[in-house]
Symmetry: C2
Subunit: 223 residues, 2 copies
Amino acid sequence: MGVQKKVSIAVIRRLPRYYRYLADLLRMDITRVSSKELSARMGITASQIRQDLNCFGGFGQQGYGYNVEALYKEIGEILGLSNNYQTIIIGAGHMGKALANYTNFEKRGFKLIGIFDVNPEIIGTKIRGIEIMHMDRLEEFVSNNKVDIAILTVPYDQTPSVADRVARLGIKGLWNFSPMDLKLPYDVIIENVHLSDSLMVLGYKINEKLKAEKGAKKTKNSK
Amino acid sequence: MGVQKKVSIAVIRRLPRYYRYLADLLRMDITRVSSKELSARMGITASQIRQDLNCFGGFGQQGYGYNVEALYKEIGEILGLSNNYQTIIIGAGHMGKALANYTNFEKRGFKLIGIFDVNPEIIGTKIRGIEIMHMDRLEEFVSNNKVDIAILTVPYDQTPSVADRVARLGIKGLWNFSPMDLKLPYDVIIENVHLSDSLMVLGYKINEKLKAEKGAKKTKNSK
DNA sequence: TAGATTGTTAATCGATTAACAATC
DNA sequence: TAGATTGTTAATCGATTAACAATC
């Protein structure tokens, strides 16, 4: 095989989507799927599907298509889901608690092993059996446990300092929920969620549609 | 001006990011910024910034750059933030509650006016003064109030039916937190969040890095 | 075998970057 | 004025789509 050419981020971001659709097919007991069928379901071209998958290897068979279960597993491997990443949540506010209660991540192989906060009222309490610890214990905990990913759900102004502190500990990935772009002088991979950005894009699209409707009405009236 | 050419989604998705950086500059009392300076801050090319902004109009001035406050307001207008969108949350589970408590959206002009659920234990209780109502009252509420956006935080298997029900009411936008792509036969704009997709992309990147490190070690050993 | 469908190359399309005249 | 920086056109780059030989 040799060294594979770097796969573009556009392709990577489609992988979880393929994974979801294949999971759906599995649930429906469909054992094989062609790029054409998948294309119709997903609303992207069959060509793109074949191109995307061939970044990682030839998983299909001429005249047959793709075996759903095999492809599902392959994409899981590509995504590294079998690495059984261990995560901690930093900041047990509303969002931190919501994520701690979200069992879907566990199904995808991301295991929550610790929650941290500074609020004395909640320290010692548990979410799904996982104790909320004081931030003072963060360094100790990380040195005693394999922690791959830190989920940052701390208030805006505390995000940079907490992110810096986490990155120093050698944690591999940061999943950031603060509406700011983190830049750190460490070798840590950052994935931002930026919920409000997503909401604003929705706002933009609605606004466009309203403008179009208003424009259409005006044109009609001016006739 | 005439009809402006359709702006690509890639540009749109950068707008909230510009908006955030301009808000930062405002907070620092910086009144003007050149595309070059902004480029350095944001880590994208000055050329792209100028191209992006010129999709909407010439907001800058030769030799000077851009007035931060004016540009901030312009982008807010483009995003339609002054429309004062009214939102409801459907599904007051952990995620619904977290979003209901998130005051940041209000600052961006998205106002929460209702929360819906089916759990009798929480119906009648309030979050930030907003009552949690039974789903039975959804139709009545929407006909009596201007509701622009529905935030969907219902369990996976209930998402399609609830989404359909909401879309029938003429709500303009759906902000969907379920890990599925909604397709609806109505004229409703859908923005998906797909948190687990984002987490899986982080997992992929970490996996890539681990593989690279292992590869490097192997090469070293085999020398 | 004949039909279906892949993997892959080539063509097209669109987005990003570079360059520079216009002008503040 | 001289320097800075925009708006915009042209060049480049990369991603998507089309086409088709290979082959199951």
